[in-house]
């Protein structure tokens, strides 16, 4: 089952982070970081939600962050974990994954 997660918030409890991370299980799954959630892609981020990104990357899922939202927050691409793609048309990529490939979609 291909899964796609759209993350739009930073504040996640440990339990929420675990459950969302568990939705991204394998290569072919995708995690999209939009709005405030781009911050959790930073190597220096220490909140519970950082486990979502590390789980996704370790399992070979595609992780993308919104270029527009990174710029708005002054976050450089070099601050992100290796393997996170910076995407201008992240909404377009998300729609393609959601409507054409994913069996399950979570927007959080």
């Amino acid at each position: 089952m291909k899964s796609c997660v759209l993350l739009m918030k930073v504040a996640c409890t440990e339990g929420e982070s675990w459950r969302i991370g568990e939705a991204i299980r394998e290569k072919g799954d995708a995690l999209f970081l939009l709005g405030d959630a781009v911050a959790i892609g930073r190597k220096e981020f220490r909140g519970h939600a950082s486990s979502i990104v590390s789980a996704a990357l370790n399992r070979g899922a595609k992780v993308s962050a919104s270029a527009r939202d990174l710029r708005a927050r002054g976050i450089e691409a070099s601050e992100l974990h290796n393997g996170i793609g910076v995407v201008e048309d992240i909404e377009g990529d998300f729609i393609d994954m959601t409507m054409m490939h994913a069996d399950r979609v979570i927007a959080w």
Binding site: D36, E91, F94, V105, A107
Partner: protein, 134 residues
């Protein structure tokens, strides 16, 4: 040619307090660009997105984007009960017995329905997304 599929979206947060309405509008517009049908249900405080004459000088122009979505063929439904509660429509019946949805406060093109109408929209959907509400 992309096979037309329907994306149903529930928005449950009011505009301007957070970015859920902004994200919803951008995702919905891209879905329409890619040839998908889009149905949006405004629920709870999200019905404030239907307000006419918004003028968000410093925020993402949710009202303008919603009008653009309607113009491009998205169906925008608003929760009738939520809209009555917040003073957008009267909740009264017209002399012919039909519900009076007239309002100068609501932008053209927004249609009112109940949560049962939303369930029908879910039945038409290929995928369902929910933005906000927490």
């Amino acid at each position: 040619m992309v096979e037309q599929k329907t994306l149903t979206i529930m928005l449950a947060s009011a505009p301007f307090g957070n970015q859920y309405a902004d994200h919803m509008c951008r995702v919905a517009l891209r879905a329409l660009d890619k040839g998908h049908a889009v149905e949006i249900f405004l629920y709870g405080d999200a019905v404030h997105a239907q307000m006419n004459n918004q003028s968000p000088k410093l925020f993402f122009p949710v009202g303008e984007r919603l009008k653009e979505l309607i113009g491009k063929g998205a169906k925008v439904y608003s929760c009738e009960i939520c809209s009555v509660a917040r003073g957008y429509i009267s909740g009264q019946l017209k002399p012919d017995g039909k519900k009076d949805y007239s309002s100068t406060k609501v932008m053209d093109g927004v249609q009112f329905t109940t949560i049962f109408g939303f369930v029908e929209s879910l039945a038409r959907a290929e995928k369902v997304l929910s933005f906000g509400g927490g």
